[in-house]
Amino acid sequence: MNDALQRHCDSVVGQMFERCHENAPNFGVTSECFSKSLNSTFAKFAGSSSDELSDKDVTDFLGQIQADDLFMAIACANGNERAWWEFDQQHRSYMERVARHLARTEMDATDIVDAVYEQLYGTRIVDGERVSKFATYSGRGSLRGWLRTVIWHSLVDRHRAGHDEVSLDEMTENVGEGGAHANFAEQPVGGDESMVDQITRERYRTATVTAIQNAFSSLEDHEKLILLYYHVENLKLREISRLVESEDSPLRAWFQRKSATREKNPAGRIHESTVMRWLEKCYAKVLQSFRTQLVSESGLSEAEVAICTQLATQDLAGGSFFNNLNVSRSAAEVSN
């Protein structure tokens, strides 16, 4: 960062400090401490791209910081009594509700909140200084959103401690509302043996699996992620739309990058039907790529492509019921 940009940054940070200090004069946060935290966050942001930053970039970035939340977090990290008191008043009951929502028993919930408080205060001493978890909060999101994440991870750690033999993936699927999917297992083939012999079937199977793998791999990361949220994490359309609710959401910006709607109404609500359309576009892309793979790479005819698709549907889903199930889910969600 050049000197002029640093001066601009210092000036904006100074104004932010004045506002926060006015709101919470008893928190004992110094201007140096506040600036140090923000400069560290800004350096991380500036380092995420090689593009030259402008004064506007700096102002926009700092404008998004949840300054009052950060101010309280710094004060709590420093052990300020007034800040701790206000933190407890504002957030304790919320934390308890979140913990109760996630934990299986009331006792677990209470233990988790106590454990999180312990982390937040910090019991570890490094180089003579107490290490408070609050020091890792940067103000990029709300303090409550951050607390939810800390509680979630505390719950995962707690679960992990009691299940040493369980892998991280298996374990996270058992925490919260996550549910396990059925495996991509080969289903016993029914009465269609006469249609395609076993060798041909195996050839089609290999080509199909390769094609679907490549088709998925060919998608952009944003498209992959929305598909994974829907199909693997079982997020409902409403939940995905929540994820892209913020006008500044990068996921939303990515999907709407060529959208006239965005230009007309950038702050407009993202409805479930919009998310469904994004998913439909992804399916269309996957289908296109899947077919191209089978025809160009595997040298199959259109008729064989149709057989591959049919076989995959039977093998992977146990028949046409699966498709109906998916349509029902989507239709039900959209109609709600």
Binding site: G79, E81, R82, W84, S93, V98, H101, L102, D114, Y121, R140, G141, R144, G145, R148, T149, W152, H153, V156, L168, D169, T172, G176, G178, A182, F184, T208, V209, I212, Q213, D221, H222, K224, L225, L228, H231, E233, R238, E239, R242, L243, S246, S249, P250, L251, W254, S273, E280, Y283, V286, F290, T309, Q310, T313, L316, A317, F322, N323, N326, A331
Partner: protein, 135 residues
């Protein structure tokens, strides 16, 4: 009808195949390096990161089931608690009760009172001040 599902039969089939393929975990790639920190995860879920910051996070979430599952659960939590208004503190107890509140918190966590915790800090601070004065 506006919300009508518009997938054609082939797209429906590919949706089903894709669903099973993704659910099978065959697409999983072990994400390199460590997981995303709490601060970035919560900011991502709230949509407050900008494009330049989020690209690497989106990329990580595609490969890392652990972090992706965490974000998914956080979205569910966010929705579940969306209705709640931030607690109002203005009309609550006077600061004179701070010690009482903190005492409850810290005695529960550390088996001691906040007085002891903060008194310890006060003492350290006092000692440091005295050292400075001595210099």
């Amino acid at each position: 009808m506006e919300n009508k599902i518009t997938l054609n039969p082939q797209e429906l089939q590919i949706q089903g195949i894709l669903d099973r393929y993704l659910a099978s975990g065959n697409n999983r790639i072990a994400a390199e390096g460590s997981h995303i920190d709490d601060d970035s995860l919560s900011a991502f879920v709230e949509g407050t990161l900008n494009r330049r910051e989020s690209d690497s996070i989106v990329s990580h979430l595609v490969d890392c089931g652990f972090c992706r599952h965490t974000t998914a659960e956080l979205v569910k939590l966010d929705l579940a608690f969306a209705e709640e208004a931030p607690a109002q503190i203005a009309a609550q107890a006077e600061p004179s009760k701070i010690s009482e509140v903190l005492s409850g918190i810290f005695s529960k966590i550390f088996g001691t009172t906040d007085g002891a915790v903060f008194a310890h800090e006060e003492k350290e601070k006092k000692e440091k001040d005295e050292e400075k004065e001595g210099e």
